[in-house]
Structure formats: structure tokens, C-alpha cells
Amino acid sequence: MASVAEPIHAGLAPSARPAVRVVPVRGLPLVAVAVVGLVVAIATNSTWALDFFHVVGGGLWTGIDLFFGLVLGPIIGTMSIPARMEFSSRVMPKMLLIMPTLVTMTLGSGFQLARKLGNLAANSPNHGWLVASYIVVGVMATIALGLLEPANIAVLFELRKPNPNGARIGRLMKIFIYTAGITGLMQIATLVIMTRLASG
């Protein structure tokens, strides 16, 4: 396994590294379409539209978290620093747009759906499961916003430097990999709660 202190210069020369764009601007129209669609779904209170946004957003969010945390994360951990850099410079900017969009789609539509189906009511048999899902999402949000996302963006900015610090990238990537693993495991709890809710 590559050491996190491995010098970066042994890998990719600055000229060989791809230019890192922190926010992929071309993806912004797709984000706008998703957000507008969500607003329309909430405004029309259509069960199908709310279900669509919740199932599609939640399925992708859970799937990506599980895949990143439990499959890709351990693989990235065994890659050399230059390979991690190249992978990060291509994947991280896209994740920066995809994940907040999926989370907004899932939570916005999910809350409205729960409200419409009566699951928010304290006397609903599903209320306890709903509160459990709030707690799981809350913990995941804290980990994602407090640790994972700062590490992700810091790596991207480090990669933009003429001479990125390999040890620093290694350390930040470690935080990213561990937190992605934790959120991946927490998504298993989400799957249990949501399938329990869906089966009544």
C-alpha cells in the first residue's frame, strides 16, 4: 500500500496532470432542472412526482454512498498518491454537484411525501421509523458537511497548485475514505428504515 507521505513528484509531472476544475459548470443546467422539477413536484403535490424524486434521489444517493464507502473507498486506499490524484481530479468535481443535488431531491420530496401520506402524524405507526430516519440523515449530514466535503474541496484546491503536497492529499483522502465508509454503513440503516416504511 502506498504511503501517504509518498512524494508526489515521482508520479505525475505538473504538465502531465489534468487541469482541475472545482465546479463542473456544464453540469449546472442539470442541477437546475432537478431543483425546478422538485419545486414543481412539491407545488403540485403530485404523489407520483414526489415518489419519483424521493425514490430516484434516494436510490442514487444510497447506492453511490454504499459504492463509494464500501467498494471504491478501500480501492482508492490502496492506490498510489499520483493515481489517487488523477482519480480525485476527475471524480470529486462531479461529486460536488451530484451529491448535494441528490440529497436535496431526496429530503425535499421525502418530507412532503411523509406529510401527504400522514406518516408525520405522531399517532402514525410509522412515526418512530421516520424519526429514526431523521437521526440517521442528521448524523450523515454532519459527517458529510463537517468532514467529508471540506476534505473533498481541500483536495481539489491542492491539486490545482503547481506542486501539490502529496502527503497532505494523502491525509485528506484518508479522511474522505473513512467518512465515506461511515456514511456507506449508515446507508444500510437507511435501507432498513425505508423498506420498513414502504411495507407499512
Partner: protein, 137 residues
Amino acid sequence: MEAHAPLEERKLPPVQQIGVAVLVLIVAGGIYTAAHLPRHVPQGPTIAVLCAAVVLLAVNVSLLARIDGFAWQVFRLVSGWVFLAYLVIAGMLEYVFIYDHTRGSQLLILSLMLAVFAVDIPLLLGFSVARFQDADR
């Protein structure tokens, strides 16, 4: 110009830790509120959480402002864009609150919690990136 210690060795105030603490308080307040909706939400705990978050956020801003030799340009760049993104997310949530007929003091508390959230996250992300950048000349 005064020389600064290498980036990894610089002693910086616990801005990130306090930022995460603010985030935890807001998330806890949000979970407490959501667990009660659509019934009346007891306001004591949410106001206490909100006040604690505001105080910690003010402390954090003050600590951040006192850092000598910091990459303020990068901080402004990151936090500015993140603020824009979170303005959209906070706006979306505010829309849902109003759409769901949340009114009066409950709406005010939720809006203030959103405002703290929309300031805390950009500050947290801006600091996390700028701390590893060379200070402005």
C-alpha cells in the same frame, strides 16, 4: 514581510471544530422540530439550541477574523460560492416551510436556524480549504 510557519505546523484557532459544533446544534434542532411537525413544536429547546448556535457562530467569526496571515482570497472564493449554493438549498427549505403553512414564531425560529446553517457551512468549507493555501501577500 513576516515569515509564517509551514502550513501543516501553523497554530490555527479551532474554527473547524466550532463550525462542526454549530452544525450539530442546527441538525439537532432540525431533527427535534421535524419529529414534532405538523403538531406544535415546544419552542424552549429549539430556542436554546438556536441561541447556542448563534453564540458559537459569532465566536467562530471573531476567531477567524483575528487570524494573522491567512489566504483570505481563497477563503472568500470558496465561501462565496458555497454560500450561493446553500442559499439555494436554504431557499428551497424555506419554500417548503411556507408551503406547509408554518407561521409565526415557529417560522421565525426555523428561518433563523436556516440562516445560521447558510453562514456556518460556507465558513467551515472556506476555512478548511484556505488553511492549506499560502497566505495573501
